[in-house]
């Protein structure tokens, strides 16, 4: 438990009014890259105009779904039932999949005509070599969920001979439809209180807070949310906490509720705990009863639970339907990707192999290119036009003074490029056309992005902007950057900063409110939302989960913290 508590900046909620208005923003601090934001989706399938393989009757189609790993390997995910005698089947079998915003989830579907002799066999036992292949289709899950209708129509393709080149034949269409499971939409609000908290000694103060974690079979409980810290209180009554049922699994999933004494060192003392599911907490509320906290003492291999005098009470328990990220997308909201690339001289002469901007003739991508692709390939699905503003900073374009925000495409009029490929092309040509200079300033780029975001607001747009800044160095204009960030904190904008190269990026952590205080301008205005995340690129290699995924996983909650408090933007329910 020491791990998660020290990640929480001072145990208090970062972010001001907008975070409070949107619900428990503290939840977001604990969302790790393991897709904790994931939303349960139910996929259903139908097809039209399938090939007719049988002479005497129509095909009897079955669909198999695979997930495709990053290395291209396919893993079978599900098989539908066999629909008899139909070229336009609607399968009953549904597939439940967790939509992970931060990942590119590729799905491959294969349709087969099942021969009559196999009709009585369980579909799982069928050998595919013995069946007639009808066609194949593939898509990314984000493509399905970003459709307003949540339905995607794919062409089924059939290749006579996989080794032969040439166009595959079109043989029908597959329609994939996604529905968000009801558990994703249900939000629980609880008001919790403790009585008679025990002290270590007469003179110590108690600054209690609660941490609610999901108990899993293997490993430590996973933190889900926490309350604020109450100062010097032995009968604390905290502000409401919110969690979605899907975050904890189900209403019956066991939860660990621990009461800690906040310690500014980060090592909080456990005052007592309770193990209850949401359903049991609801019962406590309706009975008006309290539950005694307990502490586990370990002597050798023996665990003993010591029951304490302190009790936990549930003063309020209510369920409501919440608008999810996908609801807002269905209502027309979009995520607009923007990118800014550092062209300062510290990157090194781009013609030399040790430069961070080196364009390897073998095709190996440099850190800048990899970052653009890893982040852009996830976000591109959430933008219908796929025209991305792209800038460079810290360089001297030909015949010009140093610019801290120039259009990567070399244009004087517009900053957008077409698609991720457009960004890569503009980046490469910019490298040939500018001289690396300096210093590293973020202010102009951030102000430009904020201007675009506020212009979009004025046009009634439902767009949320995500600016990716890729840099090799520590920012030089710290206060100006902070000023620009604070002004942007009330706009529909999130900023992801990736640090490439070997510099010491410790100072950059100041921007990430998870690790520091709320940002403050020189004139005393304070950021209303935490909109920045920073990650060093070299961390990409460590751990099995890509750090880009950790970066992206927090975007839906930043988006929601903005949208839910804006009365103007209504989702489509």
């Amino acid at each position: 438990m020491g791990n998660c508590c020290s990640e929480v900046a001072g145990g208090r909620e970062a972010g001001g009014g907008r975070a409070a208005a949107a619900g428990n923003d503290a939840v977001n601090h604990f969302l790790k890259s393991r897709g904790m934001y994931g939303s349960q989706m139910e996929l259903s399938f139908s097809a039209t105009n399938l090939r007719d393989r049988d002479v005497l009757s129509k095909s009897d189609p079955m669909l198999i779904g695979y997930t495709k790993g990053k290395d291209g390997t396919l893993a079978e995910a599900f098989r539908t039932e066999v629909v008899f005698n139909s070229l336009n089947p609607t399968w009953i079998t549904k597939h439940t999949i967790t939509f992970e915003f931060e990942a590119v989830q590729t799905l491959v579907f294969c349709a087969y005509d099942i021969d009559t002799q196999f009709h009585n066999i369980d579909v799982k036992m069928l050998k595919l070599e013995e069946q007639q292949f009808l066609g194949e289709a593939s898509c990314v899950l984000s493509e399905v969920v970003t459709r307003p209708s949540r339905s995607l129509t794919l062409d089924l393709l059939y290749r006579e001979d996989p080794t032969m080149s040439g166009n595959p034949r079109h043989c029908g269409q597959l329609i994939v439809h996604a529905e968000e499971c009801i558990s994703s939409k249900t939000l629980v609000e609880m008001v919790l209180r403790c009585s008679d908290l025990e002290l270590k000694d007469l003179f110590s103060k108690s600054d209690p807070f609660l941490l609610i974690s999901k108990i899993v079979e293997v490993g430590l409980p996973i933190p889900v949310c926490k309350t604020e810290v109450l100062k010097n209180d032995h009968s604390p009554a905290w502000k409401p906490v919110y969690l979605s049922i899907q975050q904890v699994g189900s209403k019956e999933s066991p939860l660990m509720i621990e009461c800690f004494n906040f310690n500014s060192s980060g090592k909080h003392d456990l005052l007592g705990k309770v193990k209850k599911s949401l359903a049991e907490l609801e019962k406590l509320h309706s009975n008006g009863e309290g539950e005694n906290l307990f502490l586990t003492t370990t002597v050798g291999h023996n665990h003993q639970n010591k029951v304490l005098k302190s009790q936990l009470f549930v003063d309020k328990f209510s369920q409501s339907s919440q608008r999810t990220f996908l609801d807002y997308l269905a209502g027309g909201c979009e995520l607009n990707f923007m990118v800014a690339v550092d062209f300062t001289a510290s990157n090194g002469n781009s013609r030399l192999p040790d430069s961070l901007h080196y364009l390897d003739p073998s095709g190996r991508l440099n850190a800048y290119q990899r970052t653009i692709i890893e982040v852009g390939e996830v976000l591109k699905f959430y933008d219908s036009e796929k025209r991305f503003p792209a800038w460079g900073f810290g360089a001297r374009p030909i015949d010009g003074p140093v610019s801290h925000c120039f259009n990567l495409n070399g244009s004087n009029n517009h900053c957008e490029v077409d698609g991720i490929q457009g960004i890569m092309t503009a980046y490469t040509s910019a490298l040939y056309n500018v001289s690396l200079a300096g210093p590293t300033l973020f202010g102009p780029v951030i102000s430009n992005a904020a201007l675009i975001a506020s212009q979009s607001l004025a046009n009634g747009g439902k767009k949320y902007f995500v600016l990716l800044i890729i840099t090799d160095g520590v920012v030089t204009d710290l206060q100006e950057t902070i000023d620009a960030l604070v002004k942007a904190s009330d706009l529909p904008l999130s900023i992801l900063i990736v640090g490439v190269g070997g510099a010491d990026f410790k100072e950059m952590e100041i921007f990430d409110a998870d690790k520091g205080e709320r940002l403050e301008t020189s004139s005393g205005r304070i950021a209303s939302r935490d909109i920045v995340q920073f990650i060093p690129f070299r961390d990409v290699q460590s751990g099995e989960i890509s750090v880009f995924q950790a970066l992206l996983a927090k975007l839906p909650s930043q988006f929601l913290s903005y949208m839910r408090s804006s009365n103007d933007i209504q989702p489509n329910i």
């Binding site: 208090r12 001001g16 009014g17 907008r18 409070a20 208005a21 604020e228 100062k231 010097n232 027309g332 036009e385 503003p389 800038w391 610019s403 925000c405 120039f406 259009n407 004087n412 009029n413 517009h414 900053c415 957008e416 102009p444 430009n448 201007l451 675009i452 506020s454 212009q455 607001l457 004025a458 046009n459 009634g460 747009g461 439902k462 002004k487 009330d490 709320r518 403050e520 004139s523 005393g524 205005r525 304070i526 950021a527 209303s528 939302r529 408090s565 804006s566 009365n567 103007d568 933007i569």
Partner: protein
């Protein structure tokens, strides 16, 4: 005849304060917030008795202000029967929520650093602000935000970067 007004109504919801202190020690209770444009034009919240140094009000106040006003003052008072002390104040420039590209009726969430009478930092105040457009102006459809249209992309996002 063009309808004009030199006043507008500011709807300010005073949300909460964080980490308030008096003489270095945490505030116990009885805090309230006064929102003012000048010594005579102000509104105040009810008194928070329970939040201590983290009081919350979530209270909406309506304050008339001249369109030429540049700044709103937020004051945190600690009141007992006999004494009314200002323990922290902050200045909120109108440009933080008005003008530029902010659409009419945009709900801004803003937070400011409070300074005590000696000029030392004393916590944070969180508010939300919306400008109410006078009725006769809104009937004339002046400056209404465009209704959300999915095809509304004709604006050239020209970035004249130097």
């Amino acid at each position: 005849m063009k309808a004009t007004s030199s006043f507008q109504t500011l709807e300010i919801t005073v949300l909460s304060c964080e980490d308030l202190r008096i003489n270095g020690r945490s505030v116990k209770k009885n805090t309230c917030v006064v929102v003012r444009t000048d010594p005579l034009n102000f509104r105040e919240t009810t008194t928070d008795t329970e939040g201590g140094s983290y009081p919350s009000w979530d209270q909406k106040l309506a304050l008339d202000m001249s369109i030429r006003e540049t700044c709103i003052t937020l004051e945190v008072h600690c009141r007992t029967l006999s004494v009314d002390r200002i323990i922290g104040s902050a200045r909120m420039p109108v440009n933080d929520f008005m003008g530029g590209y902010f659409p009419q009726g945009y709900l801004s969430f803003l937070s400011y650093r409070l300074k005590d009478p000696k000029g030392l930092d004393n916590g944070i105040i969180n508010v939300s602000v919306r400008l109410r457009v006078p009725e006769y102006l809104s009937r004339g459809k002046v400056g209404h935000p465009a209704a959300p249209k999915t095809n509304d992309r004709h604006h050239n996002l020209g970035c004249h970067c130097r």
